[in-house]
Amino acid sequence: MMNINEINRRIKQRPPFQMIDRVTELVPGESAAGLKCVSVNEPHFLGHFPESPIMPGVLIIESCAQLCSMVIESGGDDGSKLYVLLKVDGFKFVKAVIPGDRLEISVKKTRAGGSIFSFDAEVRVDGAVHAKGSLTFTTVDRDSVYNR
């Protein structure tokens, strides 16, 4: 198991954009399981939606992506490279996620080749599927992102 301090050593995201609170399983290069606890204090709930707080689907995807990044980068970090989200396929938001929910996220690598990595992701709350879909990442040179 990996607590928040250990997670901070692995990923670059920070509050209010840190979407994994605990990692419960990690198989480097293959799969991971992790938790995100959803609180009404998160800033997006101010507007999404007033008086009906629902976690935005894009942030559920981001939660899955951050867990995937730990699977990819668990082998080490090359400072000249960035892992970026390339594609989001077939995501379904089966049930709304609301404050008080604890997301049980699992991701499993399905494909790796060239510079890309694909994962299937599933998000459960109290054991019931709330969202699922696929994510694809690629590596880019950090310099190429900023020197257009």
Binding site: L86, K87, R111, A112, G113, G114, S115, I116, T136, T138
Partner: protein, 81 residues
């Protein structure tokens, strides 16, 4: 594996994974560019990953003329395997 079998596999991949309809994709159909079937740079990374995974050939950084159509990708694979 013959070059024709490689072409058939490439077409199957492009249709099933990249969402191209089989009846608009021949082996000589232009894949990228204004007069093409609308694949983009993300799709090219998918093709590179497929070729790497399927044939162990890394096409990263290979000239774009080799990505012109299924014929040219298959020819590159045949020459480099």
């Amino acid at each position: 594996m013959t070059e024709n079998e490689i072409k058939a596999k490439l077409k199957e991949f492009i249709c099933s994974t990249l969402g191209v309809e089989p009846d608009v994709l021949d082996y000589d159909t232009e894949l990228f560019g204004e007069n093409a079937i609308g694949l983009d740079s993300v799709d090219s990374l998918e093709i590179i990953a497929f070729v790497d995974g399927e044939y162990g050939i890394d096409m990263t950084g290979v000239g774009k003329e080799h990505f012109f159509n299924i014929d040219s990708i298959a020819a590159y694979i045949t020459e480099n395997k």
